[in-house]
Symmetry: C2
Subunit: 158 residues, 2 copies
């Protein structure tokens, strides 16, 4: 799984803590986590395209959550970064069997192997969809949240 998922999760949790009063520049988030600014920006762009973040260009611009943390699931986030493809990609090696008969109808329906892997993938997605950003930010210790607020200079007004 791409490293950007971890980055995106941390950034989103942080944005949830900060509230969406004013956007946070990508460079500032990168600085916070000591991540490569340009590449983190690419990840945040992906989250923007997925409708998880909204971006405002220009001075005093940046990123903020596009909707309430309660309505952003981990599945949304993972899908935005990793893409919608399943982990198990079937390459249809079955059809390459030496005596494969193209006329056979058997190859049209998904086989048991693909179905089994798909079922497991669904269980994974379901679990991710059951957890929201709000859960994450609530589960973190208060001290972590306070530290983030302080670091971003929002300690007093929130």
């Amino acid at each position: 799984m791409s490293e950007g998922v971890e980055w995106g999760l941390h950034c989103c949790v942080t944005l949830a803590w900060l509230g969406d009063e004013e956007p946070v520049p990508a460079a500032r988030l990168a600085e916070r986590f000591q991540l490569p600014p340009a590449y983190l920006n690419k990840c945040l762009q992906a989250l923007g395209r997925a409708g998880i973040l909204t971006s405002t260009p220009g001075a005093r611009g940046g990123f903020r959550l596009a909707r309430a943390p309660e309505r952003i699931t981990l599945l949304d986030l993972v899908t935005a970064i990793e893409g919608p493809e399943e982990a198990f990609r079937c390459t249809e090696i079955r059809q390459r069997c030496a005596e494969a008969n193209p006329a056979s109808r058997e190859f049209l329906r998904p086989c048991a192997i693909a179905a089994a892997m798909h079922k497991a993938e669904l269980a994974w997605r379901k679990e991710l969809a059951a957890q929201t950003l709000a859960d994450l930010s609530a589960a973190a210790p208060r001290s972590a949240r306070d530290a983030a607020l302080r670091w971003f200079g929002r300690g007093e007004n929130d």
Copy 2:
């Protein structure tokens, strides 16, 4: 996910169909699915090390299932090929926070993010562990099994 998982699944289902009367050479399995023989062999070796297949060297040697298909789960197979690491690897970017305080005990316990991703991974593994090779070979259409038996020249005695 590595392509070898699909190969391994197909090979194991086929081996389950063929029974373990006599082993099947890797080259023959590769021929069956039109896969690169040398690389497929590497995958089968991994299954061997994981205790899913047993290999017999020498003439008339090859691979066979190490135990009954009912006792080989998809999780066994996937883990053997993909390795035991979880998809989500935490790189502890939290500790890189600008004001990270090494003395803080907060960094010792796993954070909410890692816990959430781990929970989803467990759901995936659980689903994989619930399905066995026997389920797969039973779910496949009879014609597929018959074709495999015929192709391997085992149509008469099984």
